[in-house]
Amino acid sequence: MRSFINAEKFIALLEDGMSIMVGGFLTNGTPEGLIDLVIESNVKDLTIICNDGGYPDKGVGRLVVNNQVKKVIVSHIGTNPMIGTLMSEQKLEVELVPQGTLAERIRAYGAGLGGILTQTGLDTLVQEGKQIIEVNGKKYLLEEALGADIALIGGAIADNYGNLKYNKTMRNFNPLMATACKVVVCEPRKIVDKINSENVITPHPFVDYILVGEYND
């Protein structure tokens, strides 16, 4: 069940070596206030799972620039040249995942599936090291479920019960990640009294903590 926490309590949740899922698409829907606090905590050796590498001065890109990241699992790094540089210097591990596969792997973890079968990535580099499964004469890649220690959720409108809906395109990976981590923390854009039961996107039992304080706009 959700509870409202402040910056200090959030920082206390962080540890070196954690895997962290961060919502947002090219930082649209990324909780920048929580990123600020991860930087403040200065925890190291993080594995970051996000749609993309963000920008050097925005989103998860800031954690890379601040040298807190050991590995990124993303679909795209083109907007953050620092990642490509660190990768070629072998200072950062980069796992590139097709965007739809990334979404389904995260959803699969949240839904208790071991994995999913997809044709995306067949006969490409993405296939390397993966099981190929045949179903009714068609070949599929087995893509394994992907979970993490903590999810940082942004772009949300929260209600007093801890339910979330999302602002416009800020939804993207946020509701998926909110199902796939041991601890789920949301930095809402605003808090309303109650979201209509038919319009809730992330029901409150998925949410552990909601950050309150100066970080909400």
Binding site: Q99, G100, Q119, D123, T169, R171
Partner: protein, 217 residues
Amino acid sequence: MTDKQIIAARIALELNDGDLVNLGIGIPTLVANYVPADKTVTFQAENGIIGLGGLVEDETEIVNAGGMGASILEGGSFIDSATSFAFIRGGHIDVTVLGALEVDQEGSLASWIIPGKKVPGMGGAMDLVTGAKKVIIATKHTNRGIPKILKKCRLPLTAAHQVNLIVTEMAVMEVSKAGLELLEVHPNYSIEDVIKATEAELIINKVLPMKGLSDEN
């Protein structure tokens, strides 16, 4: 018309009334400018929009798949990344238009990595090429004289055997089981010019002048 406009205008003719269409970044984006007024085409953006509208400067709450401020049309909806890629991978996208580093006569595409040089990542391209009903490649015919339309892609693939149509400023080519058929040639070029600029073997039966050139914009 510029080369890019020629390509975009020609591809727009491939869209049918009622189609759901995903346009990649670059030349593909221009296709939206050439949809005839008598056709209703719905654009999807893989970050989570059904009914993508035009660009909007300084808009930060709605972005397109390139992270640029955008708008949503009446009747549109915001969806999460899993639903967005359910559309893409489940065969619900009628047409996708994408760029290429290389494309070959077998319909295979390379567009996401130049090993040792540039690794932007595949983003949603692998999913789009694998999942859309019709895959159209929008590309300059050569890269400063070096053929991009090959017998067999040399760069790592985005997907194998998925491309249906290739449109360049010089020609329109269709991938069939027999091979790559030259359908149309721009009046500025001869069939010989096209053959010379193409590494792939072209099947030449009835070749028409390129359509769509009158619809300037």
